[in-house]
Symmetry: C3
Subunit: 261 residues, 3 copies
Amino acid sequence: MPAPLELADIAADLLARLRARAPRVHCITNSVAQAYTANVLLAAGAVPSMTIAPGEIGAFVAGADALLVNLGTFDQERKSAIEAALAAARDKNLPWLLDPVFIERSPPRAQFARDLVGRAPAVVRLNAAEFASLAGFASLAGEDAEGDAALRYAKTHGTIVALTGAVDRVSDGERRMRIANGDPLMGLVTAMGCAGSALVAAALSVEADAFLATVAALAAFGVAGELAAQGARGPGSFASAIIDALYNLSRADLRARMRVS
Amino acid sequence: MPAPLELADIAADLLARLRARAPRVHCITNSVAQAYTANVLLAAGAVPSMTIAPGEIGAFVAGADALLVNLGTFDQERKSAIEAALAAARDKNLPWLLDPVFIERSPPRAQFARDLVGRAPAVVRLNAAEFASLAGFASLAGEDAEGDAALRYAKTHGTIVALTGAVDRVSDGERRMRIANGDPLMGLVTAMGCAGSALVAAALSVEADAFLATVAALAAFGVAGELAAQGARGPGSFASAIIDALYNLSRADLRARMRVS
Amino acid sequence: MPAPLELADIAADLLARLRARAPRVHCITNSVAQAYTANVLLAAGAVPSMTIAPGEIGAFVAGADALLVNLGTFDQERKSAIEAALAAARDKNLPWLLDPVFIERSPPRAQFARDLVGRAPAVVRLNAAEFASLAGFASLAGEDAEGDAALRYAKTHGTIVALTGAVDRVSDGERRMRIANGDPLMGLVTAMGCAGSALVAAALSVEADAFLATVAALAAFGVAGELAAQGARGPGSFASAIIDALYNLSRADLRARMRVS
């Protein structure tokens, strides 16, 4: 397992590759999150596309470098789009990330998410309530239990679990890491979690070790949030400032601030 | 009728309850308005959800504390979503608010809005052109006529009318109030009115007197607008600043600035 | 052909007319771009509407002063909306602008765009990759070739081509101009190009010479971008700042900064 300073360099290298290569990330996401997600990707150096139209999504995904599947709206149109996108992603061997937004509020959405876990996502990014719903837990007692459960779920389903909250836990079923970066204002801007998922998806396209890519992207996003919070007067200015911070994020920032263990 | 200082305290208490209770507000709204509406709700302490998918909207509304129905896009999908949402709201006795956006431009949208007024919205929030279309007036001559017409309409239809503009008029058919807060920049940010409606819907979930909830929420939003305008360089910075202002809005701000009579 | 200073005055006059007349611009655009496009139009003085619902789009377009058709999402719903909107625009003799977003990624979208060019758009606004796809070029070698190709395409199809990039080229088949305004940050905010197209559509409604309207609107948007970039810390703050800059844009700014030849 890399030491913290090594991890900061891994994250810095990953950001440098995003900025240099400008990977395309196709995003199936809800209309609330689309613009903010696109702006976060652009600030990080990636190029977003967002169509879900059945006649063209296959071509967009086939030309992309990674795929984000966010369940923030769950209707027949998006279900068909997801099918077409996953088929194209499999043909091209593209990494994809599942973000099962709000599945704890809707049993059919939760069932669909469970089916999608069987379709080999590289990463599942979700919060504690969504994870409990996905895994069928009544609830999780504390952070340690969450970390254990994430590891077990990852191992059983052959994916990476990125369980985000005040502290993020990431596991690929063997390795596990805890990320203590971020700021509470991140929870007061709509689509912040969705945008973080998109950033992880972008990271998967430039780093073959999907576990390190996930840890690095989440930690970098958390550091950007901390820097943005310094000058923000509330969630409105913070929403812009984190995009600026991500755009300007340096190796020195990551070395000074990443708290990953 | 409460005195102005009492009203400022009612508004401050209402904001405190939103921040403490984090009520869920389900919003059926147009895609232009979704993200900004969500961010305004989050800044005020509420938790937005936005799906309109037929298979899950009932569950989302059933788990919510208030419902916003915005007609900013009027298609078959949203019409069905509104039906399902109103059924769930009636079952749970949830307060709901109708925002009949742009009905003066589309006769079928106006007819649908008239039908919805018969479905017992707690509040109808709209501007003068929309009100004229809803009520079938040719036009309204001046602010006094507007206030009288709002009172009559509210009485006849058993709802609260919140007629917003340079000055807002609120009536429940018996009581009436005039709110002179706000800033012209509020009219230059898309979805500002929709977001104000969402804030009123949130207020309905924490204040049983829907008339006072409406007045307090609109006045607080107007005060936030005034504070935001002080440092804004135009509608772009203003759009962020009003979210910051709402997030930071204090009892002292409300006492110093609310102009309600 | 007007001299540069005359062009700055034409642009300033055009902005003054937008602010005075508040033309309505109906926008068929993708959900990623809707809110930002609306805010750019509002900042310039125009009034946006965005519905694509089949039952009402005809009425909205009939009441508008210009129409934007953006192909950023290409599905059956938007295709039907475009048909209804173009019928209403033809009846009312409204100017309309075609923005064939990302057609190089999707053959059916490109074919649809080619069909739409036959429906007499006043302007086609697009980038080099989209232009190559539209016109069926393999690629374009350099800026001069782009300018020549734009002129030929404009002449052949009886429209104005506005080919945007680091430098914008505009031609109506006879006249041609080169606009060297703008800032690289404009490429890092989603929907910036879509919003620029909407601004051109608005300009068409207040200036009968569509070629000058296009040049003036693109140059003004570029100058706003330059002014915004001066204080921006990244694409997040820039996205707000360009809206402020457009709102405050003065004749002096345009005279000092417009680089059109």
